[in-house]
């Protein structure tokens, strides 16, 4: 049909048609390029957020370990409070909490399982929601909180 029209009108207007086709093709290419750039930027932002959360989880765990270590009465069966970091997190949009599950231990020791959980999950943190879990024994012989041993450290 186009060919017929071209035949009817010779080559009049063909330059304009070609220019418009070129313009359309260019628009599609530019839209694709900008799409790539946008996706790349979004991936960078998501990566930064995810990395921040990973370090937040680790930081919360380390801080809670240090806290339980020196807090008398914590880490014993029936007595182990949850810990919420007071410092500013890398990713404040995803706050975390550390839940403590103590278990019986020999005299002079405390044995706990710490689970880092998003604060949106109710305490105690269910296994499926724990982002990081550590099995820790505190040694109180000689002096309180003399040493500690990390028996396991498992990420989700």
């Amino acid at each position: 049909m186009k060919l017929a029209r071209m035949r009817a009108h010779g080559e009049e207007g063909i330059a304009l048609e070609l220019a418009l086709i070129f313009l359309t093709a260019t628009s599609v290419i530019v839209a694709s390029l900008l799409g790539f750039a946008d996706t790349s930027s979004q991936a960078t932002v998501v990566f930064r957020s995810s990395r921040g959360s990973d370090y937040d989880v680790d930081a919360a765990m380390q801080a809670d370990i240090a806290t339980i270590r020196v807090t008398s009465g914590q880490g014993l069966v029936g007595s182990c409070a949850s810990f919420t970091p007071a410092f500013t997190l890398n990713n404040p949009a995803s706050p975390v909490r550390v839940d403590c599950t103590p278990s019986s231990a020999p005299a002079g020791q405390r044995h706990v399982v710490l689970s880092v959980c998003p604060t949106t999950i109710a305490s105690p943190c269910p296994d499926i929601s724990a982002v990081l879990r550590a099995d820790i024994t505190f040694y109180d012989d000689g002096s309180f909180g003399r040493a500690l041993s990390i028996l396991s450290w498992s990420n989700q």
Binding site: I14, A15, L16, T26, L34, F47, R48, F87
Partner: protein, 143 residues
């Protein structure tokens, strides 16, 4: 009969007429605009790629330093016992790529009281050649 058709009938060679000057100029303007837009889009893509690459590299630099710092603190803690905390550790981290810098910002050391949790916050800042920076907060503690 249509005027153009009459003109073709009078002179058949007019059927082979190409574009008029106005058409060519309009087409040229449109095509030029398209080329400029294309170049602009590619420039934006390249700039974005460069930015993202430098941001990612800064993140790697910060993470490398964080891992090295944790080792340094563990060694300091083992060597110095209770007086483990410092505002400057001897960190053996990999040398950042050319143009990148990394600097730690140490939080205050906790009091040495027996009931004070012994941990310290550290904010590691890695700066890229384009001066964008990545910050990473970590916690180190007495081992």
């Amino acid at each position: 009969m249509h005027r153009r058709a009459r003109r073709r009938d009078a002179n058949p060679s007019l059927d082979d007429l190409g574009s008029t000057l106005v058409e060519v100029l309009v087409a040229l303007v449109i095509a030029s605009g398209a080329v400029f837009v294309l170049i602009g889009g590619m420039s934006a893509l390249f700039a974005s790629a460069l930015q993202n690459r430098q941001t990612t590299t800064s993140g790697v630099v910060a993470r490398s330093y964080a891992e090295a710092l944790e080792v340094a603190v563990a060694q300091s803690s083992a060597a110095n016992g209770v007086a483990w905390c410092s505002t400057s550790y001897s960190v053996s981290s990999p040398v950042p790529p050319n143009g990148y810098t990394v600097a730690p910002g140490y939080g205050a050391c906790p009091a040495t009281g027996a009931a004070t949790p012994q941990f310290q916050t550290v904010v590691i800042t890695a700066t890229a050649p384009n001066l964008t920076s990545e910050k990473l907060l970590i916690v180190v503690r007495r081992s």
